[in-house]
């Protein structure tokens, strides 16, 4: 057993025991990593331009599949969530949106976990879902 008994990645990733803020934290990481992976892939994908039309078209064939479209829809979702939640974090991390510090009354409800923040998280998730649907609509010309 490790000396520090750190919870480890499983503890970090397990969002179930705490509130929606912990879920948001976890989604932020996953979407960030996902977007970075997509971004690297996208750079590689577009580099096929330089090898001419045939190379470009065969690359397109690889990505213009059902799986490719679902993946792209996911990327849109990740992008929207990461942006929405990211803006929330930037505002919060600058110290705005908690009201004032004050003597707390039992039972304690931390004002950093307030409705404004929770709402922003839910809205970010909602917007991500809408954007994914819209994206799929565009890709399938609905």
């Amino acid at each position: 057993m490790e000396k520090d008994r750190k919870e480890g990645i499983r503890g970090m990733a397990n969002p179930g025991r705490y509130g929606i803020e912990r879920v948001a934290y976890w989604l932020m990481r996953i979407t960030g990593l996902g977007l970075l992976a997509y971004f690297i892939g996208h750079i590689y994908e577009t580099s096929s331009l330089l090898d001419g039309k045939a190379a470009w078209n065969s690359m397109l064939e690889l990505t213009q599949t059902t799986e490719g479209h679902i993946f792209l829809a996911l990327v849109i979702g990740m992008c929207v969530f990461h942006t929405g939640n990211g803006i929330r974090l930037m505002i919060a991390e600058a110290g705005f949106g908690f009201g004032k510090a004050r003597r707390p009354d039992y039972p304690y409800t931390p004002s950093s976990l307030n409705m404004k923040n929770k709402l922003c998280i839910y809205v970010s998730i909602g917007l991500a879902a809408l954007a994914m649907m819209y994206g799929l609509g565009v890709m399938y010309d609905v």
Binding site: I9, G11, A101, R103, Y108, P110, S111, S112
Partner: protein, 256 residues
Amino acid sequence: MAAIFPVSSQEKHEKTKPSAKSITLRISKFNPGKDHAPTFLEFPVSYEKWTTVLDAILEVKNYHDHSIGVRYSCRQAMCGSCGMIINGKPKLACFTKISELNSNVVTVEPMNNFPLIRDLVVGFERMFSTHKRIKPYIVREDSEISSGTKEFLQSPEDVEKYIQFAGCIKCGLCNSACPTMATDSTFIGPQALAQAYRYIADNRDQGKDKRLRIIDERHGIWGCHFAGSCSQVCPKGVDPAMGIQLLRGYLLGYKK
């Protein structure tokens, strides 16, 4: 363990009387000096509506298994000794009533993200040293009085600005819940950061720049990603997450 006899056979101890309500208490036992892996011991415990998890653990320690290692003292959520994981979440044992857990099984384990000493007892050396690192005292030249000195004036509103963060009892629950501390044992942690804010927000203090410099490093304040778990588990309403975000306002230049 030797058999334990009652003091006299007629006088049965009151506390061992079976009551209508009872739960199974599962206690994590692990002595790194002797054992290879943690095991759980299970004990039936009867309870009343005011029985706390600490009461239950001590009942077991006093009458069933003397060897249970547990740290406790004030039993009124002021000393911060009895932080542990109760049914999966970091809580103070003395501040958690069995009746409010709504569970027939209560599992207690040592806090995560701290080195284990034995059973439910963890080592606090690192947390105490990070607390020391952020200079948790009033920094100013005239902080020692001479005869005839009166107080620095401070309005009730000035006190409100930091009093929330002065409630920290150093129980370590926030550090145990923190997702960054789950993998990064060099992270300064919500406990120390909240205390850094407590002193910076105090209008008697002049140590802001020194403290900001200390926390503005690789495993410093930016290791916080505002998952809010620290504030969720804090038994005293300290809200470390808020303190940390307010600190960042200074570092990002929004606040002077």
